[in-house]
Symmetry: C2
Subunit: 465 residues, 2 copies
């Protein structure tokens, strides 16, 4: 049985024109459409009417031009690892899968930058860079595409040291809603020449244009790297250690918090035997002497806050195993309750409010009786709840949404944000006005100017769009 066409503008004439551009790279298969209508979050699958596998910027431009002429929605798609329904085709339309655009186009080793197509994944890029002495640090956990990471302003475990996609994108090639192709910036490290279009597209979630090339900053592989795990008597002690580390200006590369529930899940899932206690995962980068200096400082701070001994991982293999366990946290949560779904949600607050925000949230979780481990990129003030629940249970679902809402409003009241890194998608639109007030109207002016037909990933980011 074929899915009903959701958007009536996707008719046989339109499909014929699309095939004239992309030939056999156009798919109407139900399986392909459904796979392109969902991400890894809890949102319902919303398949597009058609999926087209793009192969070049010019290809994307031709497709978008056609869509504009027919008023058909355009949804860019990478690895589908977003979490807030970013790829759901709420109004049907054309999903542009960019995963065949997966070439590393140009490494400028001397300038510490690289230009890639949007379908290159972060692991693929680092594999490509192996042996050059360079690496790309941003690591949101999933092996996401660079295009998707740019579109959602991803960050992850290394952001405390290396920044987010906001700080690490130098330039973009973008196909606009009318098909025109622009390059947002030259390759110089800084510029005062005109409006910062690069940053405007970073985090725009496909609602302003389709990103078809990305120039990224790279970094020299540090002389020394080591990772450590440290358990704490209390959640407060762990969070205080984080805050003091940041306030002391220690340039930690990673500082991740997992609460007791999350540690239990990780132990079970990854076959580990860490104490079931609030735990910090650290990574230190620098010169040999610098790394020693950093770790001494952090050990002292941990000691003063009820931390146990540091369990070290200096070999690359051991470090990888440790971070794989951390990255599998989400799947570990899901495994706690087979058959259930996860609602991964994140907020970010000024670090002075982090302990308060996490402790109140932990108390709230306990009072609801829900299963919701806490894990976070706490060096940035960013933490996640992964609420594990049965979406078919209306009463439980209602409690889950209420818990999420309370956490978001708690963060906003502390001058924080409704999402530090997952993005808005169609999951957090309702919080945007609480967070940004009248600035949302200015965002809408920008959206309307750049996409007057509202064909670019409609129904995302701006409420009521």
């Amino acid at each position: 049985m074929a899915l009903m066409s959701i958007n009536s503008a996707v008719d046989s004439g339109f499909l014929e024109a699309l095939r004239a551009i992309a030939g056999g790279r156009v798919s109407l298969s139900i399986a392909v459409r459904e796979q392109h209508g969902r991400d890894e979050g809890h949102h319902e699958t919303c398949p597009p009417d058609v999926v087209v596998f793009a192969e070049s910027t010019e290809d994307v431009s031709a497709i978008v031009t056609l869509c504009a002429a027919h008023n058909v929605p355009v949804i860019p798609f990478g690895t589908g690892t977003s979490l807030e329904g970013h790829v759901a085709a709420l109004k049907g339309g054309v999903c542009i899968d960019v995963m065949r655009m997966n070439e590393v186009l140009e490494v400028n080793a001397q300038d510490l930058d690289v230009r890639v197509q949007p379908g290159v994944t972060r692991k693929q890029l680092n594999e490509y860079l192996r042996g050059t002495g360079l690496f790309f640090p941003i690591d949101p956990g999933a092996d996401a595409s660079i295009g998707g990471m740019t579109a959602t302003r991803a960050s992850g475990t290394n952001a405390v040291r290396y920044g987010t996609m906001r700080e690490n994108v130098l330039s973009l090639t973008v196909v606009m809603a009318d098909g025109r192709i622009i390059r947002t910036s030259r390759r110089a490290r800084k510029s005062a020449a005109g409006y910062d279009l690069t940053r405007l597209f970073v985090g725009s979630e496909g609602t302003l244009g389709v990103i078809t090339e990305i120039t990224l900053k790279l970094y020299g592989v540090p002389e020394a790297m080591s990772a450590a795990v440290c358990s704490f008597e209390t959640l407060e002690g762990a969070v205080t250690t984080v805050i003091e580390t940041i306030q002391n200006g220690v340039p930690v590369a990673r500082i991740e918090l997992l609460d007791d529930v999350q540690m239990d899940a990780v132990n079970r899932y990854s076959n580990l035997e860490y104490p079931v206690q609030p735990t910090l995962f650290f990574e230190f980068h620098g010169s040999a002497a610098g790394v020693v200096e950093q770790t001494e400082t952090v050990k002292t701070l941990a000691d003063e806050n009820g931390g146990g001994s540091f369990e070290w991982a200096t070999h690359e293999e051991d470090r990888s195993r440790l971070w794989q366990a951390r990255h599998d946290a989400y799947y570990a949560c899901l495994a706690l309750r087979p058959g259930a779904k996860g609602m991964p949600t994140d907020v970010c607050v000024p670090i002075s409010r982090l302990a308060e925000c996490i402790l109140e949230t932990k108390k709230d979780v306990e009072e609801t009786g829900l299963l919701a481990p806490i894990v976070g990129h706490v060096g940035d003030g960013n933490f996640h709840l992964c609420i594990v629940f049965d979406p078919d249970d209306a009463e439980e679902s209602a409690r889950v949404h209420a818990l999420n809402e309370r956490m978001v409003h708690r963060a906003i009241a502390m001058d924080g944000t409704c999402t530090g890194e997952h993005g808005v998608g169609c999951g957090k639109q309702d919080f945007l006005i609480a967070e940004h007030g009248d600035a949302v109207s200015v965002m809408r002016m920008v959206k309307t100017a750049l996409d007057p037909q509202n064909i670019m990933n409609p129904g995302k980011v701006l409420p009521g769009n």
Copy 2:
């Protein structure tokens, strides 16, 4: 003799309404208007019709609302230390001087951030922070206002380590062209919630709105700081040292190049006796051990590239004297030819092209016979020419503009930018399309959406606006 009113909409009815808002803070004095119609660059003075000294965000909002109703241009004004005619009232109108809005509103020491009014200067802010263990690093040379630095995306000597205003502004309060007041972001260090309006206003040069509050990142004062001066046999050796320092990932806080002509000027102006040779000024920040490690690496690189001995300045006083000499470079240039004017112009290129770009520019300067010292924030790939000339000499002026044009097009051809930090103003608009191509049309869509009447600092940034 009163100046003629440039904009006919500024009539007695308008002035009466303006006085109803701002009372005695409205000035029609010729001296005040002329002082507000020029900056420190070579552009002609273009006085506004009226200057109003704003005292609050609400005040600015009321003034802008009035201007919108009467279609009167609005030009924000800080210290007047910009260089590309940013404050010239090309179409007359109201200059809003924000220097009475000079309060530090809130220091969040634990979060390493501060909220200030736009008239606070960078030196005032650091004076205010003295004793807190925190500092604000961005240093464009002039004691500029934070509002102006934000509006022009300023950077300067410390940017190689601490980034530019792009990386250091957390949030803004902005009065839009219709008078509405928005806050662009909350205070969390990162967010994925909506379009990055903060970065859109940073560097918009008053053409999208008036910035009335700025939240900035702060940094802990490093445990150790030391500065050094090192002369080189050749310009190439100095530039190569810079490139290798950056490529080795040494986190230098400052690395500044002055060519032989500039060193001669600095010696004369600041009464110093440095060798008249291409010279690097360094500053190192970090732990005591870290600073030693950094300096050892850089000394080795300098040695290999024909550098002489390092002359050290570790005491704050000595460091200040050294950097004051560097900051006075522009005035030192002007003093080389009393009565002449300076055209300070800057470009920025990927660092792999820096040596080539500087050497070709130096050769070009020599061939023109013009007096044009080179000085630069070379760690970013950014350098300046300060062309000293007689603006009343049409032939010399033509050679000056041609030299500037060749340098800009040389930089753009190397994937660089027409301005790394001075901004576009009304001096570099003609290069914007060469640099950004069709992206300029997207900038224009944003401008038209946010300022449909084109009253916000008209004639700046976008060509033909």
